[in-house]
Symmetry: C2
Subunit: 455 residues, 2 copies
């Protein structure tokens, strides 16, 4: 007898996990609050935010056989183009040909996953909002177009995002830790359209960054030659979203802080004033799962379990890694769902906690450090050492974006490398100092009393 | 025209703030989910947990003129009696006569505050559960015995505890940070009854502590000569609440870990098995308030704003300090409620964050350090220095419990003292080392070749 899985949320994590579960023989139903993303007009209305698909996401998409088919929807990014007052700098992501990221529209990827899930027999119920969850069964009550319905399942998956309803119900009357923290900065998206000549207005095969401690822009390329720029600003203050109200102020701000955007985005002022700023949240919670004595259970994945700031570009990739890890845990304990869910949480939670920390740290890096010459030198030394010892010395960014080394292990390894680098730099400085001192001593020692060198 | 205040929650913070607001001329209504605490039988049923009233709470109760009347309900505690395997140790709380705490039953104090509030014209609506909050008015919808009612007010105060409904509604669709963390330990309360001779079974005028890294008991005295012991244990594991199931195991555990409790609590096994363990939570959130353009507002106080672990005995005291601080802020800005609420949050939030940290740290102190000889020596040196320089050197515990120095300032001062103590101890050690070395050199230098001293 087939087991039933109920997935709440048809977003990236929900639709991918539905594919995995269907592959594993579950009868899968997905409840989604919104309507079918394939309906006319939805692509234009929805969250257009671009995503950078990196190694962890690629591995999962390859596993379900969807990677090849996605190629036409993606644009490879070979590194970062940093926009500085005196011009552009290019920072490659890595050495190898395959150390690249793939820019893709959230919507396009989501539709591809929903299509694939349906092809595998997954049933999607659109316009169904969760109103309660019964942990003891488990069962999910949802309000759909035809009224309230109760859905029971052997396995319920909460893939309903950072403000997960399943998480809320899972925590009722239990000792559940929850950390929800908003960044004091928000964002608006602006389109860098294709040029009048039909060609991209700037380098397409890269991520673009305009660093700055009072405002930050990141732009991803689109397959049609346009780019989507995300402007990150403080919510409050004269130069935050609250203060940038009239067209004059907005134009002045962009002209002063990001002058080249005025040519890249001809209608930057109109676009900026036309959008509401969105907020950024980090969510950590524990536990992620609940099980019954009969061997059924509920588990959270993706943003519902661990929403992170987008500054390491790992939100989707971590969610996809959840899906592949959950699938492996279900395979390892085919007749023991409680053990599979416990193994999943144990395997993922420490690492997504580290990702939350890294994502917050990368905000500081993108904002402040990309303008620091010292930081850029260190970054170059880091990459040079990677070039010399490609297997023994791997920069943190490379470990996170271009490998599937667990986040926590990647951080531990990077910390060891950082200490080595510090020691090496200190030794080099000491050596340089000693050499300099030696030179001074020698030159003094060989001076004639008259102050001129003898030799 | 009088302004209207609506307080949600008639607990300690809610009833005290109602008194303050009535004194300040507000028309005050209090909504409470539970029934009237003065109804017959409630005292026996309710949370019996004892509280240690310290300086911050005392100042507030004195301010509203209630302190004198409470004396018969309280028992002074002059220090801690630590129960160790080899006997008892007494640690005084401080030097001065007034550096004592007052043990009081939550219920008795609450009833006194509700009586006082009613005396000042406050209206209590019992059995009213909040179902929604409208920030824009502000208005609170509550389900009472007669159905749903909407209550509007100029000032709404959320004093509804760690799992505050007002806080939940205040956060909807706003950037609200929330940190909720449960301790992996829980607690049960046990009564140490009066002895058969009608006298207390142990020293009454003290807090009793049984330290231990696998279990911890704290006992407060009651005015009737009994004491209420709170047993803190891990939830999980063989020696946690999950494992201590049968009478045999419970008796063995108490006999091995807390042997003297068997004589202090003759029915310890029955009492232990009769109660469900309760959990301990830390909550931090931000912001605490919301205001309207018309100058009305909502604010959180007490546990709703900052629930802390009970290990520094400051939960109630911090809540009472909220009430007196809020009253001062309302006095400072009599015609500008938004400014008063902003001033209140700015004045309190940094310090209650520090209290959360101190309360978690004191768990470690009570659990592990009270058994460490080194720690006890350091504690003695700390108090000896206080005796030498009563104004210049004040131990952290004294600053928190016996003064109204803001928590953050107290911690900063204690850190400076700790550094001084470290430096002094290191200097003493170096001096001792040097003296020792000098002695060795001198004694060597005066030895005869035969190894006997010449002088």
């Amino acid at each position: 007898m087939s087991r039933h899985a109920l997935v709440v949320g048809s977003g990236l994590a929900g639709s991918l996990t539905a594919v995995y579960l269907a592959r594993r023989g579950y009868l899968v139903r997905v409840l989604e609050r919104r309507g079918d993303p394939r309906a006319p007009g939805v692509r234009e209305e929805g969250r257009s935010i671009n995503l950078g698909l990196s190694q962890r996401g690629i591995v999962a998409l390859r596993e379900i056989g969807l990677l090849e088919g996605l190629a036409p929807l993606t644009v490879p990014m070979r590194g970062r183009v940093v926009h500085l007052p005196d011009g552009l700098r290019f920072q490659p992501y890595g050495l190898a040909e395959d150390q690249i990221l793939h820019s893709v529209l959230r919507h396009d990827l989501n539709v591809a996953l929903v299509d694939e899930a349906e092809r595998r027999g997954v049933e999607f119920l659109w316009g169904h909002r969760v109103t309660s969850v019964d942990r003891a069964k488990p069962a999910v009550t949802a309000l759909g177009p035809g009224g309230e319905e109760v859905h029971t399942a052997d396995l319920v998956i909460g893939a309903d995002g950072a403000f997960s309803a399943v998480r809320g119900h899972l925590g009722r009357g239990r000792r559940v830790d929850l950390h929800q923290e908003f960044l004091e900065w928000g964002y608006k998206e602006l389109l860098i359209p294709v040029g009048d000549d039909g060609r991209p207005r700037t380098e397409l095969r890269a991520l673009h960054v305009w660093p700055g401690d009072d405002g930050l822009i990141v732009a991803h390329p689109n397959a049609d030659g346009s780019l989507t720029a995300t402007v990150f600003l403080p919510f409050d203050g004269e130069h935050g979203f609250a203060g940038l109200t009239g067209p004059g102020r907005v134009r002045d701000f962009f002209a002063r802080r990001f002058p080249d955007t005025l040519t890249l985005i001809p209608d930057v002022v109109e676009q900026f004033l036309d959008h509401e700023p969105a907020s950024l949240v980090t969510v950590r919670t524990s536990p992620w799962h609940s099980t019954t004595d009969e061997g059924r259970g509920i588990v959270l994945i993706g943003d519902a379990a661990h929403a992170v700031y987008p500054f390491f570009g790992q939100g989707m990739n971590a969610a996809f890694e959840d899906c592949s890890t959950l699938d492996r845990c279900l395979a390892a304990h085919p007749h023991d769902l409680p053990r599979a869910l416990a193994a999943f949480e144990a395997a993922r939670k420490p690492h997504t906690d580290v990702l939350a920390e890294l994502s917050a740290r990368n905000f500081v890096e993108l904002r402040d450090k990309l303008r620091s010459p010292l930081f850029l030198v260190r970054k170059k030394v880091d990459l040079a050492l990677h070039r010399l010892f490609p297997r023994k010395w791997v920069p943190l960014y490379t470990l996170i974006a271009h490998t599937t080394v667990p986040y926590g292990d990647a951080l531990a390894r990077a910390r060891r490398q950082d200490r080595l680098l510090d020691t090496a730099l200190a030794a080099a400085a000491t050596l340089a100092g000693a050499t300099l001192a030696g030179l001074v001593v020698r030159s003094r020692g060989t001076r004639s009393p008259g102050g001129r060198k003898v030799t």
